[in-house]
């Protein structure tokens, strides 16, 4: 445990627990797009029998789990270009329709990873400097600007213990004023007009210890 300001009794959520904590809050019937990295763990934790439809921006609604090695259809890939399966009821469509779905506000939820989230809802998740050698953005800006709600799933601090929940993003923005909620290994935090509001904390985390590794001001609610 290297996070500054947190003592030894703290039990941060691990990656699986973070995904499970977020999955718990996705109600039946939502259409959901998951970004790269941590968010891809979420489908494993949707409770049995709860119908949630996963979208992949390359033209799938009803994305299912990774197939066993001897049952791979190589014509089916997700946004990270891994082979996938389709669930019953799945549909396929082209890219303009897929991003029309995104930009038109038809997706209930998008979950992305991020480098930083600011208290006004700004997200920075695509570039770490102003002069990346070969920059790449993919669908991150479309998903951030277009989804009905954007939740971020990320570690609370950098590997060096630096805050990622900040009053203003230092990295180049992906979208302005769009993040609604942040799930980290230490807490669940809403982005509101009054600033960051802490909804839940991992075992042993106190508001004081959380504040110590968060650059922006936090308030406890509920």
């Amino acid at each position: 445990m290297t996070t500054r300001g947190i003592d030894d009794v703290v039990k941060p959520w691990d990656r699986q627990q973070m995904a499970a904590r977020l999955a718990r809050d996705i109600p039946e019937g939502w259409y959901v797009n998951l970004g790269l990295g941590l968010p891809t763990l979420i489908p494993d934790y949707i409770p049995e029998g709860r119908e949630v439809v996963f979208h992949s921006e390359n033209g799938v609604l009803g994305m299912g789990p990774v197939p066993p090695k001897d049952h791979v259809d190589t014509w089916l890939v997700n946004a990270t270009k891994q082979n996938i399966t389709l669930v019953k009821g799945a549909s396929l469509f082209h890219h303009a329709d897929s991003f029309g779905m995104i930009r038109g506000g038809h997706l209930d939820l998008c979950v992305l990873g991020a480098y930083e989230v600011a208290e006004n809802g700004d997200i920075a998740n695509w570039a770490t400097s102003q002069n990346d050698a070969v920059p790449a953005v993919g669908g991150a800006m479309d998903l951030s600007a277009g989804s009905k709600r954007l939740w971020v799933l990320m570690e609370h601090t950098t590997k060096d213990g630096l805050p990622r929940i900040v009053s203003r993003c230092a990295y180049p923005l992906t979208a302005a004023c769009v993040v609604k909620r942040v799930y980290t290994n230490l807490a669940v935090i809403d982005v509101t007009e009054r600033g960051f509001e802490v909804l839940d904390m991992a075992p042993g985390v106190t508001l004081e210890s959380l504040q110590a590794c968060t650059e922006a001001k936090l308030r406890r609610v509920g």
Partner: protein, 226 residues
């Protein structure tokens, strides 16, 4: 008799001019017309602008076109992993990269296809990819103006086709292909299966033949496991 079938890859890509804007279907390697790309390499057109979601991920063809110095500009959303050939040219200032959000590429192509010269989108507002572009407020929200992306040529991979150029696709091989097929002056298709006119169910045709100029039958292999 309408017959858009051509006998060879060389016939399919014949006449592509230097300086052409070329739409390249595919998401990664799935749905990317490898054999048509090979034909374009052989055909020799230079100073090309390539519009592709990726920069050659999973296939040697597009990186080869870069390495041959035939591409002046790449319009792309996610040029990673970056082929060494592209990275070298990029760092040397010998190729231009226009980085465009994925949905904005798709919509710029769609706009060109349907006669819309420009549109406003919320994507990229407040980011460096909107710098220098017109921002306009509608109903209290800011949008950035994006221009239609017209092309001279589209290279498309279909699953089944008939001699009128009606097309269907397979799995996520659909991706950019249907919208790119609609937006070019010359739309060239490679198809895994060529079927008789009337065999494709009209209810299931994804790209109507009006958008297609040439179709070549290529028994290309399935994409490799990812």
């Amino acid at each position: 008799m309408i017959d858009k079938r051509v006998a060879s890859i060389a016939d399919a890509v014949a006449g592509v001019k230097d300086g052409s804007v070329v739409l390249l279907g595919g998401f990664g390697v799935v749905g990317q017309p490898q054999e048509l790309l090979g034909g374009l390499i052989e055909q020799g057109a230079r100073d090309l602008t390539i519009v592709s979601n990726n920069a050659g991920f999973g296939s040697p063809m597009l990186p080869k076109l870069f390495a041959l110095g035939r591409v002046a500009k790449l319009i792309c959303s996610f040029p990673r992993p970056t082929p060494p050939a592209f990275e070298e040219l990029f760092k040397a200032g010998k190729i231009t990269l226009e980085l465009v959000p994925q949905g904005t590429i798709a919509e710029r192509i769609r706009a060109a296809a349907v006669g819309v010269p420009a549109f406003y989108t919320p994507t990229a507002v407040g980011t460096r990819l909107a710098e220098g572009k017109e921002i306009r407020e509608f109903d209290g929200r800011n949008y950035v103006m994006e221009r239609a992306l017209h092309a001279d040529v589209a290279l498309i991979q279909a699953w089944r086709a008939d001699r009128w150029g009606n097309l269907t696709y397979r799995g996520t091989g659909r991706n950019f292909n249907p919208v790119m097929a609609m937006a070019a002056s010359l739309t060239i298709v490679q198809t895994r299966h060529m079927v008789e006119l009337g065999e494709l169910d009209p209810e299931s045709i994804v790209t109507p033949g009006i958008f297609v100029n040439r179709v070549v039958h290529v028994e290309s292999p399935d994409p490799p496991p990812a």
